[in-house]
């Protein structure tokens, strides 16, 4: 098993934290994991992305030329990554900020209104954790409890952020679960 996921969006949307929390959770589960943030000139342009590879054996390359999953938080990311995603791969998109839809018919698209859901919690900046909750519910890449432990560890010094992130995670998770049950 080797699953590569790209998280992409504007700088400040928390795309790097999303990837880091996922990688941390995979580490807790004893899986092999690599996390590669985008860096250099492209970072200064305002878009940010990172690639997380999770596997049960050694990971050769942390780079994903054809990712299994892509999480897009804004329009430019959709344009940039929709043609890289593997046939049969899954695109998670933040339906509040991404206006376009992928032109490809060979990929699965999952829409989550991350900003609306985060807003109901009174924490607009938690949209990323809402997305991560939905992502985990769909991919089962790691267990929900592992993500919760990861958040508790990563944000252990910021109690408020920790509580809010955990709430947002559950909201995203439940949103996808309910959609599945009602479908």
């Amino acid at each position: 098993m080797l699953i590569k996921t790209v998280f992409a969006g504007f700088g400040g949307q928390g795309v790097l934290s999303m990837g880091y929390v996922l990688a941390y959770a995979a580490m807790i589960e004893g899986l092999q994991v690599t996390y590669l943030p985008s860096y250099g000139a492209e970072v200064r342009g305002g878009t940010a992305n990172c690639t997380v590879a999770v596997s049960n054996e050694e990971i050769a390359s942390p780079i994903a030329s054809t990712p299994d999953n892509v999480v897009v938080m804004n329009n430019p990311s959709l344009e940039k990554f929709q043609h890289q995603i593997l046939t049969g791969g899954v695109m998670f998109l933040n339906s509040n900020l991404v206006e376009q839809r992928p032109v490809r018919g060979d990929i699965i698209v999952r829409e989550i209104p991350c900003n609306d859901l985060a807003h109901t919690l009174g924490s607009d900046q938690s949209a990323n954790m809402v997305m991560l909750g939905g992502f985990i519910q769909q991919t089962s890449l790691v267990r929900l409890e592992s993500i919760q432990s990861a958040i508790s560890d990563v944000f252990k010094e910021k109690k408020k952020a920790k509580e809010m992130n955990l709430k947002a995670l559950n909201v995203g998770y439940d949103y996808m679960k309910n959609r599945e049950e009602n479908a």
């Binding site: 880091y20 580490m27 690599t34 996390y35 860096y39 250099g40 000139a41 050694e58 050769a60 390359s61």
Partner: protein, 359 residues
């Protein structure tokens, strides 16, 4: 070795910095350059916590000369940079060699030549293993291929440097520096309990003066100094070669690759093995001294060697020198900062078996 119970998830540059601190490094001098700025950034915060000193020097040349000073005084000291910055440090590295001073130098290689780019490359192999500076000297060169190895080799580099009184170079690349992997650090060493160095310059009050110099005008004495260094290099060559082999026992074709390229190559070997092709991997961990004996040993049953590097062909020369024409050597490289995927390398392996009728 006692290690932290819990793993940490950190980027390569931070891993190197923390491992250095754990090994007893208390002085860092450097000048910023992407893609390794996270290393000095980490040191600037971490060293004061353990009573160490961080200085952002005015240039690469200044920083390597500060390393010389701290090393003469007996400290465990490190500097780091990326390719063009390492070029600037070469004069100082030659001095470290001539003065027989321990120091750890980190090169997070980027694409070149010239200013190049900030993508991962392995194009400084010649510079690292042949010495980019002047004179008959050698640096021990360690090539990590994972987060854990970045940690363990950095930690060991300080012991090697002190033991042989010689500079040690960690040769990684932009990707290794940026990538995060779980790592379990060895516990912090007590600096007071490190082996004593009887040669340092710390003030001669109450003892005979120590004298460390590389200016030796008399050719006879200079020759003697050179032979002394060369005997030391022979001893290092005898005792410090490190490499990893993977599925080489029955291999008819052996890939030789280091660092990032070796990770890709290993995955390619697994793919080719799944196709039933008898292929293996030799991954040098020390680039100098080079695992020549291991290569010669493998050439008893493998007559085909495939060298894969993220450059236009540098380590391939060491493979050819080691094999002395006893086996076929094929090279494939991607220079300029491109990292190919394992499928590409696996295709080349299959093609080699087919074209060369390896059975």
């Amino acid at each position: 070795m006692k290690r932290d119970e819990k793993p940490s998830l950190m980027r390569g540059s931070h891993i190197v910095a923390e491992a250095a601190v754990r090994a007893g490094c208390r002085y860092y001098f450097g000048y910023p350059i992407t893609p390794q700025n996270e290393l000095p950034e980490y040191m600037s915060r971490r060293l004061p916590e353990v009573g160490g000193t961080f200085v952002q020097a005015e240039s690469e040349i200044a920083s390597i000369n500060m390393v010389i000073g701290a090393s003469m005084a007996g400290a465990r000291v490190m500097t780091s940079s990326s390719s063009p910055g390492i070029s600037l440090k070469q004069e100082g590295i030659s001095y470290l060699g001539g003065l027989e001073l321990p120091a750890v130098i980190v090169n997070m290689m980027r694409g070149g030549p010239g200013l190049g780019n900030i993508a991962p490359s392995q194009s400084d192999y010649f510079q690292a293993t042949r010495g980019g500076g002047h004179g008959d000297y050698r640096t021990i060169v360690l090539a990590p291929a994972s987060g854990q190895e970045l940690c363990d080799l950095t930690y060991r580099a300080f012991d090697l440097a002190d033991h042989y009184r010689n500079p040690v170079l960690i040769l990684a690349d932009g990707m290794m520096g940026q990538m995060m992997e779980p790592v379990r650090f060895p516990v912090l060493r007590d600096v007071q309990k490190l082996p004593k160095k009887p040669w340092t310059i710390t003030g001669a009050k109450g003892r005979k003066s120590h004298f460390i110099r590389s200016l030796i005008l008399d050719p006879g004495q200079m020759e003697e100094h050179n032979w002394k260094l060369i005997r030391k290099y022979e001893q290092i060559t005898d005792q410090e070669v490190q490499y990893e082999t993977f599925k080489t026992e029955d291999a008819k074709l052996v890939i030789v690759a280091f660092g990032t390229a070796a990770r890709i190559a290993k995955a390619a070997v697994k793919r080719a093995r799944a196709e039933g092709l008898p292929v293996g991997l030799l991954r040098p961990i020390t680039l100098w001294p080079y695992p020549k004996k291991a290569l010669r040993e493998l050439s008893k049953h493998a007559k085909h060697f495939f060298v894969f590097e993220l450059n236009a062909g540098q380590m391939v020369e060491d493979v050819q020198l080691a094999l002395k024409g006893d086996a076929d050597v094929f090279f494939y490289g991607r220079p300029g900062g491109v990292v190919p995927n394992p499928a590409e390398i696996a295709r080349i392996i299959s093609r080699q078996f087919f074209q060369k009728e390896i059975v």
